[in-house]
Symmetry: C2
Subunit: 339 residues, 2 copies
């Protein structure tokens, strides 16, 4: 099994390479392909020990940055690490997935333009895997790839995200909730109200009802389905809420001698909290619905996120998530998808 | 100036009464009307000292609970404290506003059904006033009263919320942002994309562009405009994020002896943080766009929130927010509000 890693596009290519090598040393049955500037990669590999027979470099001369217009960049930067990586992902049957820390827009555009959709999928979607209060994970799908959605899209997100939670997290019969402004069945905007009865009728989805955004990380749900706009708002608001508390706490500690001493005593707890809430360490956001899997790690990610992402791609391939998704969609009853 | 307070419907009527009396003692030029069960109110007033000539009881025999269907309750529970309070608000020119800790649905329904809309307002809206990282406030409008919106509604929210920030927070030329999935002008779902150019053209709105949900509490904006669905998701996600950190922190402190000692040293900082992030202490969510002002305090609010709410209502009346809103709307250019 081969996995391709786009070295460029993020803030710390050396962390991407370091993470890839750590993953290569942990997973003995994979081959990694590093797409990027050969000289730079070789320099970054210096001093690292690994099984060279399972590492390949796919040389590129360009990179796509966050300031590039995504679709234009995919079309014109033909020698960029991301485009070459996508071409290889498409053409090489042995390559099962791609990992990139590059511009989300470019990663999405590349996926849509170079890799086809799976049969039956109306819209591929992107979702982050978030840590929950009970120590588990929750997949929020979509979180920004599709800002305008129809009910049928949300139903497909439910099938795809359920397959992911089974494949990677080993969750049997994942609990799927619909992001809403209340928990009652009759709550929601027009889109949610139209989607609710459809999800109820889907045999391949364990739909547990509407949920309020404050319960996103409660651990009561394995999958939360939303259109990309509302999902993005939820994701970033949670981030904002977390940041507000941690910033206020940090500023408080800085401003008081007593609190500084207190923080020393609490060091273990604070570190533990940081780790538990660190999305970075847990892999990346998954792009589902394409013929091959793509994981987008954070632009400023550390090596550990890349290690997590390799594990995500590997588990999805071993589970054969593509077949799980197409089977799940094929089982869908003839629903009335009119709006 | 008279302000009416609905005593029932929330979890702690005695806190509502206590807060009302504290406000009455602070604000020497107002009269408060407590709507509720007379015997209960008299019992709650026992032992409190106040100027009885500025306190009136509006006797009610029923209350509306959260399990009541809002519009049905407003229509049928004619002797409830909320309905009687709304009737008085409507009929008595001297009464400038209403405060309730009751069911949000019933408070909204009562407002829409008993109090008319201001001239030119397409949709009244509800917004919480949130604390920001820089020590200021931000008004998120709408946060749930209108889950399906048109661009014209969002433009009206901008005018109304700007008037509030001027009236109550004394912010000159409030910075208005549109809740979006990115900061770039061209970002957004269809609704945001249609609203953006309209807000740009409004002379009475200091529109500063799109914002990401993670910046909601940053202090960079005074008003954040959203449809009630996205606004609700943002509000509750922030709450969820804050809760996640504080719960994780609390559990960590509980589980370690060292951390418990640390928490003692950090007592001041932790208390200060709790106060700063406490929406409860800062008043309530404002319902704007009706002929009179309504403030909805949290169902489980403490007395301090009611004190804040009285101050909100008083300031809005002194500023004559109704005229500010109608003038702001009258200044709107003939925009193309087609979708």
């Amino acid at each position: 099994m081969k996995i391709i890693v786009d070295v460029h596009g993020g803030d710390h290519p050396e962390e991407v390479v370091k993470g890839a090598i750590t993953a290569l040393n942990q997973e003995k049955d994979i081959t990694l392909i590093l797409a990027g500037k050969e000289e730079e990669i070789n320099r970054m590999l210096t001093g690292l020990s690994y099984d060279a027979s399972r590492l390949e470099i796919l040389p590129a001369t360009e990179e796509i940055s966050c300031s590039d217009e995504p679709t234009v960049a995919i079309r014109t930067k033909k020698e960029s690490s991301l485009v070459l990586a996508y071409n290889r992902l498409k053409d090489d049957e042995e390559v099962v997935g791609l990992i990139s820390a590059g511009s989300t827009g470019a990663v999405l555009a590349g996926g849509f333009m170079r890799i086809g959709r799976l049969k039956g999928v109306s819209r591929p979607a992107l979702g982050p895997v978030l840590p929950t209060l009970t120590g588990g994970k929750v997949l929020l799908m979509d979180s920004g790839a599709n800002v305008d959605c129809k009910p049928v899209n949300l139903c497909h997100f439910a099938v795809m995200a359920s397959a992911y939670m089974q494949a990677v997290e080993g969750v049997k019969n994942p609990r799927v909730a619909l992001l809403c402004n209340g928990t009652e069945d009759e709550k929601g905007n027009a889109q949610v109200k139209a989607t609710f009865p459809l999800l109820k009728q889907m045999p391949s989805v364990n739909f547990v009802g509407n949920m309020e955004a404050r319960e996103l990380l409660s651990g009561d749900y394995d999958v939360v389905v939303a259109d990309g706009f509302a999902g993005n708002v939820a994701l970033k608001s949670v981030e904002g809420g977390v940041k507000t508390v941690t910033s206020t706490l940090k500023a408080g500690i800085k401003s008081s001698f007593m609190a500084k001493i207190g923080a020393l005593f609490m060091k273990g707890v604070l570190k533990n909290m940081k780790q538990r809430l660190d999305v970075n360490g847990q892999g990346g956001a998954v792009l589902l619905g394409l013929k091959k899997t793509v994981v987008k790690v954070h632009g400023s990610c550390k090596a550990s996120a890349v290690v997590g992402a390799v594990s995500q791609v590997k588990k999805m391939a071993e589970f054969d998530i593509a077949t799980a998704i197409t089977n799940g969609l094929a089982e869908m009853p003839a629903l009335d998808f009119a709006e």
